[in-house]
Amino acid sequence: MLSRTAESFFWIGRYIERAEYTARFVNVHYHLLTEIATGEDQADIWTRYLEDTGELEDYQRLYGDVLTKSVMEFVTLSRDNPDSLTNLIAAARNNARGIQDQLSSEVWHFMNDFYFSLKGKTESDLWAETHDLLRHVRNTCYTLDGVMGGTMVRDEGWNFYRLGKNIERGGRTARLLDIPVLSEPTTEPRRISEYHQCLAALKSASAFEAYRKFYSAQLVPKKIVRFLLFHNRFPRSVRFATTQTSELIELIAGHTRRSETRQAIRLAGALAADLEFGSLEEVYSTGLSEFLAQVLEQFDQISNMVAQAFFRTSGYSETSLPPEPHLKSQLSQTQQH
């Protein structure tokens, strides 16, 4: 498979997963927290979120103070935020467009419908149908995964798509855990807002119902951390994602074992083992925040090595897709009939 094609599959997986997590997070926090949290708490929650996702600087430059209303607009519809829902879906669709000849037509048509369903949305649409809009994005991401799964050949492209999805998923779940109320093993949520933050963390990973099956409805920070980090059968736990990542890289590597490939296998294997054999004691003795930072750092290294091993780009490749503005202007100078 062409390296560029593989890279596009990988990024479709990442962008769609990122959109899904964003939609879910925003929906959960908007509905759960804005009713009960003070303005200050709300600002804390959003600030931490934007910091974790790397969007804070852009946000502050454009909007200044952190206010629920402007953050919501920024992460959903903003043209200026590359990680807004509309831009993520456009980016996924743009990648799909570049490999249209490799996708099932069902996937391509579905992706197109998805893109056009969001393209014309304005801020007044967002406020008129907040819940519906966010649910639409989340559900369409789920459905897209189903259309992919139901129509795509299980070839390299499929594996790269899964790989991108799992790397993104592991990182996103890890970020959800990085909140003060979870950071001490002995804490019990006291304030109603703390209780709701625990609930929101679980719901943001669509994990509340699954958690309840294992631990009853009682929200214990320690148990939440254990569940979202280490659970071996919940598909959005960090461990689950690292195991998948490691298996997929092995599968993709096949028999060619260049040094970059071996390195990617090693990094992914190490991270999977860390999560498989890790314990809560270890996590809290390191400090939850530090532990999560290490996990994210490892995911980054894996991404980098995957790019070097298979995409033949020198490093992190997020910026190489789509083409930069100067390229667009050159493209428009080419001959046309």
Binding site: R312, P322, Q330, S332, T334, Q336
Partner: protein
């Protein structure tokens, strides 16, 4: 009985469907009968279904110069254009003759240059053109073929006479619309095809692939053929992915390829894989930054070296632009006589070359009556439509011509034939006449073959004579019949 066509108001000029008496031409009679019973509102519904199908499938083009990078569908008109078989044979023969002569012209220019030495075509005209690739003089491409794929634009005047308006010998696009239009028409009007005796168009991708494979350097049984695209922002990107999919070949961008030891490879997840034939949809200027534009990021450094070493075949060849130059166009009838000793079957539109003093004087005196075109432009950009132009526009072109006479030609306005189209009215849709042209696509392999019919483009703006998609043009399904009615 009331017919859909009762509401159609004929305009002066040549109408494709109706004779001036209002009677449908012989080859349209059955269509007028069948479609006549169709309620207007059903036609509107069908049209919406067609638009939706095109949008969902991403059959769109990008509007250049638009900061939003808006994608538009190429408007599709439901009423098919019909060409009777006898008429088609004439067109076919005329186009084959023309393409054959043009290929001989290219082989000659990049070879012995007899036609220049014999002063049939002025040497200065060729050597002053940026499209003439001097570096390639003396290089002969595989089997001497330059024009593997071409699109020849035809128009009809007020008497229905066919003329060649333009030759497109570089990277002509539009064939995907021919194929998709037919598919959509079949979905919308399955019954119509049952007894209309329409010749199929769908053999094109298979023929193209076979021709491409035939170009592979000798000894390759199962050559690797790829299509080289400039990428998703190119206005013809849909077509590139469509053709790749239809032919079952890999679509690549310049950044996917690398040249090592004068061989071309694509970068795959499992290493480098050698490529034998490239159907390139990237212009000469962007093809290889080692030779052409240094700043090109669309091409592949070293590609021309590999081509000259015979390790990779390119379709189309390099340097074709010199033969579809709008100034060189004037000489095509002479080429046909010179190389083939035949009379041209299809005529040129009379053309004034601003580089020739007496022509220039005539053009400047008649700017209000002529169409002035920049030689280097295509896609309907850089034109002056004399009769509808303002004084200021004329003055602007006068300055441009005087500053750079070689870059402009002028032609009398041809009153293009028109064809009834479904057009939005104030309250409901209506049938109105709109100007059309025809671009048959020509493949050169073992033989020269034509797509059956080709792309009929429509100038959907009332009165407009410009059919290019970038200028508000649309298209129609084009039927060549097995017979004449």
């Amino acid at each position: 009985m009331k017919s859909l066509f009762d509401r159609y108001q004929m305009k002066s000029g040549f109408d494709e469907i109706f004779e001036s008496s209002g009677v449908p031409r012989r080859h349209y009679r059955r269509l007028v009968e069948r479609l006549g019973n169709f309620p207007l509102k059903d036609l509107d519904l069908k049209r919406k279904q067609a638009d939706q199908a095109f949008l969902r499938q991403g059959i769109t083009f990008t509007v250049y110069g638009d900061p939003q990078q808006t994608e538009k569908i190429f408007p599709f008109d439901l009423l098919p254009r019909i060409i009777p078989n006898t008429e088609w044979h004439i067109i076919e023969a005329g186009i084959k003759q023309r393409v054959r002569a043009l290929n001989m012209f290219l082989a000659d220019l990049y070879g012995d240059q007899r036609i220049l030495n014999d002063q049939v075509v002025p040497r200065e005209l060729i050597e002053s053109s940026e499209h003439f690739q001097k570096d390639l003089v003396g290089f002969c491409p595989p089997k001497g073929v330059y024009i593997h794929v071409s699109g020849i634009d035809l128009v009809r005047n007020h008497e229905g006479q066919y003329y060649v308006l333009e030759d497109n010998l570089r990277t002509p696009s539009g064939i995907s619309y021919v194929l998709e239009n037919r598919l959509v028409m079949k979905q919308l009007f399955p019954n119509l095809f049952a007894d209309m005796q329409v010749r199929p168009v769908d053999q094109y991708p298979a023929e193209l692939l076979e021709n491409l494979k035939g170009l592979a350097p000798t000894g390759k049984d199962n050559p690797t053929v790829v299509l080289l695209t400039p990428g998703v922002f190119n206005s013809a990107y849909f077509e590139h992915s469509f053709l790749s999919l239809q032919m079952g070949i890999q679509m690549v961008e310049g950044r996917d390829l690398v040249v090592e030891s004068d061989k071309v490879y694509m970068k795959t997840t499992q290493g480098l894989e050698q490529i034998d034939v490239i159907y390139r949809r990237v212009d000469d200027a962007f093809l290889d930054p080692e030779i052409f534009r240094k700043d090109s990021v669309l091409g592949v450094p070293g590609l021309v070296r590999a081509y000259r070493a015979g390790n990779v075949a390119l379709a189309n060849g390099i340097g074709n632009g010199i033969a579809d130059d709008k100034a060189v166009y004037t000489f095509v009838p002479k080429m046909i006589e010179y190389y083939l000793s035949e009379q041209p079957i299809l005529q040129n539109v009379p053309t004034y070359m601003c580089g020739i003093p007496e022509d220039q004087q005539y053009v400047l005196e008649h700017l209000g009556e002529l169409v002035v075109k920049a030689v280097a432009e295509s896609g309907g950009y850089g034109m002056l439509m004399g009769p509808s132009s303002t004084k200021a526009q004329q003055d602007e072109f006068r300055k441009k011509i005087l500053a750079n006479p070689r870059s402009y030609i002028a032609q009398p306005v041809v009153t293009l034939s028109h064809h009834p189209c479904v057009i939005d009215g104030k309250e409901r849709i209506n049938l109105m006449g709109r100007h059309v042209d025809l671009r048959p696509f020509v493949l050169w392999g073992k033989d020269i073959t034509l797509s059956l019919g080709g792309l009929t483009r429509v100038a959907l703006k009332e009165g407009s004579l410009v059919v290019n998609s970038s200028q508000g043009g649309g298209s129609k399904d084009t039927w060549v019949l097995y017979g004449d009615e």
